[in-house]
């Protein structure tokens, strides 16, 4: 049974709708990452689940119970905030144990559970300190401890790592993943960092402008984006997207300048003649030789590799190459793309075009949601 169910959930501020009819089923024990650009409504959605924001219309159910009208405390969710929101006047131990105090547990019981949580999070030495006397990472851990101690059915995180430096962020990411594996609580994790999303998620929900673009495992979202938006948003750089015209009889996409990209006709048997958007990964480009040519503009150094920005048939394109490749601005270069790496999208709506339901492809789509134990 789904632990969290969202049915056509909408949110309006005055007349301004910011979340447009979201549907989502989250399996019990699943870690879902909600990913999207700033202002797309991620926090709003999360806060509606938490009960901090009223639900304009639609239904939110947790463990089979509609919670629209329930107070936050009655929903069985715990939340970790972006700025931690620790009580400044309470010690770490009191911060962690506050919800138990409210729940009316005895002092002894509280101390025992606080100590246990503190031990798992490595906070034992800091229990008597005030939040102001802690580093950012330690505060983050206290915030997590405060959520953990209630042993909630559902964990909600709103960009909990965005105030940490890069190293600490990676470390905390791993800890959150471990914690999730140990506790097995259903988790919604909001972020705008796709690396975080990729590494943490069982499934990623990609949001844009208040709606869901795609729900899928990290590899699905990366490998089979449903829309050009997702294609462009996921991966760094995003998918190269070029306007062209499909010629299904020849099995090629022709770019405006006449160059042709071959695609896999078995995978895309039902493509109509006419305009399409063709996409391929910067990493899928075979650089050096081939039938295709583009003009080099400038390069971005990544350390282990280089990103060449070029113009291909008059449109921008990025190619992933080894660092030793060196080109002059304006110089042409040659490359090829394996037809199997070509993805096709509708020229109007930007939706992924219909693919063949090959047995392999079908199992991939119909596979049940993988929940990492």
């Amino acid at each position: 049974m789904a632990e969290i169910t969202l049915r056509d959930v909408r949110k309006s501020y005055a007349k301004n709708e910011v979340v447009h009819g979201v549907n989502l089923d989250v399996a019990s024990g699943e870690l879902i990452v909600i990913l999207g650009p700033s202002g797309c409504g991620k926090s709003t959605l999360l806060r509606m689940v938490a009960g901090l924001e009223s639900i304009t219309s639609g239904e939110v159910a947790i463990a089979g119970r509609v919670v629209n009208r329930l107070e936050p405390r009655e929903r069985g969710c715990a939340m970790v905030f972006q700025n931690y929101a620790l009580y400044p006047h309470m010690s770490v131990a009191k911060n962690i144990g506050y919800s138990l105090k409210i729940a009316g547990l005895s002092k002894a019981e509280r101390t025992e559970r606080v100590n246990k949580v503190a031990a798992t999070l490595g906070l034992t030495d800091f229990l008597e300190r005030k939040p102001a006397q802690l580093s950012g990472g330690q505060r983050q851990r206290v915030a997590m401890g405060r959520a953990m101690i209630r042993e909630p059915k559902v964990f909600l995180y709103d960009e909990p790592l965005s105030n940490l430096d890069a190293t600490l962020r990676v470390a905390m990411r791993v800890e959150i993943r471990k914690l999730h594996q140990r506790l097995g609580a259903t988790t919604l994790f909001v972020t705008h960092d796709q690396v975080e999303a990729m590494t943490l998620a069982d499934r990623i929900v990609v949001m844009n402008k208040g709606g869901i673009e795609q729900v899928g495992t990290p590899s699905e979202v990366y490998g089979r984006p449903e829309t050009t938006y997702v294609a462009n948003f996921i991966g760094s750089p995003g998918l190269n997207l070029l306007k062209g015209a499909a010629h299904p009889d020849e099995g090629v996409i022709k770019l405006p300048d006449g160059q042709q990209l071959a695609y896999d006709r078995n995978q895309w048997p039902e493509i109509g003649h006419g305009p399409v958007v063709v996409g391929f990964r910067a990493e899928a480009v075979k650089f050096g030789s081939g039938p295709l040519s583009a003009r080099f503009d400038f390069a971005e150094e990544l350390g282990i590799a280089k990103l060449l920005h070029g113009s291909f048939g008059g449109q921008g394109m990025i190619v992933h190459v080894a660092t030793h490749e060196d080109l002059q601005s304006g110089q042409p270069f040659f490359f090829s793309v394996d037809p199997r790496d070509i993805q096709l999208f509708d020229a109007d709506g930007g939706r992924r075009l219909e693919e063949a339901r090959t047995p392999a492809a079908r199992t991939k789509i119909a596979a049940p949601i993988q929940v990492r134990a």
Binding site: Q82, A85, P88
Partner: protein
């Protein structure tokens, strides 16, 4: 700022020391006057060095002013007003900042308007109500032609009469409102997620966080209510039991009666007695809230 400006340093220091001396001179004169006997204090010019009759004068003043009783009255009244003001200010600001209800803005403006109506302006109606606390209700009933026999209940010659009319405080409400607005929303939400209701949040999160605020407000309000003169003078006729310290002072300070020699030494001693509690409160609470300010959390 690290700068080397000896001339400027000298001038600022001279200015500071000068103001300090100017501020302390009256206190010194009070003290000196309180330490001489009746004849010396009436010499012209008055001596500027303390004499040897200080304790004697203090004892006389204490006794003549009935200060044992009167100081207690003043402490009860000033303490009651201070506590009442803080409670009212915190509660009303809590309501205005944290709750959304229909007449919220109306309430806010009503409180705001009382800023322009200090006790001195509304003293006649306030006295009328103090003399008959249920009178407003009687007036309302009369307006609707209902006759209900409400009992007489007056606040004259009582602590409640001295305290209650002084409690309403727009300043305190604003101070608290300003403070509540700086409390991050996430903190409120975290408390909600932890299962805290509004009362608990108010008592266990907002109040401890506003300690420094409270100290500042308490200092100002204690001194203010200690110094109240007009209202106690009106509401108290039973001077034996309910006089406050400031009222009593007036009886000891020589009045404009011809032929009666002004007993300045005792009057000044009484002055010292009366000004001690507010000075102590200020010193004590000030240290406390400066400490609070230093250790404020980010």
């Amino acid at each position: 700022m690290i700068e080397r400006t000896p001339v400027l340093d000298f001038i600022t220091h001279a200015l500071l020391i000068g103001s300090l001396v100017a501020l302390l001179i009256p206190f010194w004169i009070i003290f000196v006057a309180a330490s001489h006997d009746f004849h010396t204090v009436n010499q012209v010019p008055m001596p500027l060095m303390p004499g040897s009759h200080f304790l004697e004068n203090m004892a006389t003043a204490w006794e003549r002013g009935n200060f044992g009783r009167v100081m207690l009255n003043s402490i009860v009244v000033a303490g009651g007003v201070t506590i009442g003001k803080i409670v009212i200010a915190a509660l009303s600001a809590f309501s205005i900042v944290y709750f959304r209800y229909k007449l919220r803005m109306v309430m806010f403006w009503l409180i705001f308007i009382t800023l322009m109506l200090p006790l001195e302006v509304r003293i006649v109606p306030t006295y009328a109500v103090a003399a008959d606390a249920l009178r407003p209700f009687k007036a309302i009933f009369e307006l609707f032609g209902i006759s209900v026999g409400l009992p007489e209940w007056n606040l004259l010659n009582s602590y409640s009469g001295l305290i209650l009319p002084l409690i309403a405080t727009a300043t305190g409400t604003f101070l608290y409102r300003q403070f509540f607005l700086t409390v991050p929303d996430e903190l409120t939400e975290a408390a909600k997620m932890d299962g805290s209701g509004p009362v608990r949040f108010f008592l266990e999160v907002l109040m401890p966080l506003s300690k420094t605020n409270m100290a500042a407000l308490a200092t100002i309000m204690f001194v203010w209510s200690w110094n109240q003169y007009l209202w106690p003078l009106l509401v108290v006729t039973d001077q034996q039991n309910f006089a406050t310290a400031t009222m009593q002072l007036q009886k000891i300070v020589p009045g404009p009666v011809f032929g009666e020699p002004p007993i300045w030494n005792v009057a000044m001693a009484a002055n010292l007695i009366v000004l001690t509690p507010p000075v102590l409160v200020t010193i004590f609470l000030q240290r406390w809230f400066v400490r609070g300010l230093i250790s404020t959390e980010k």
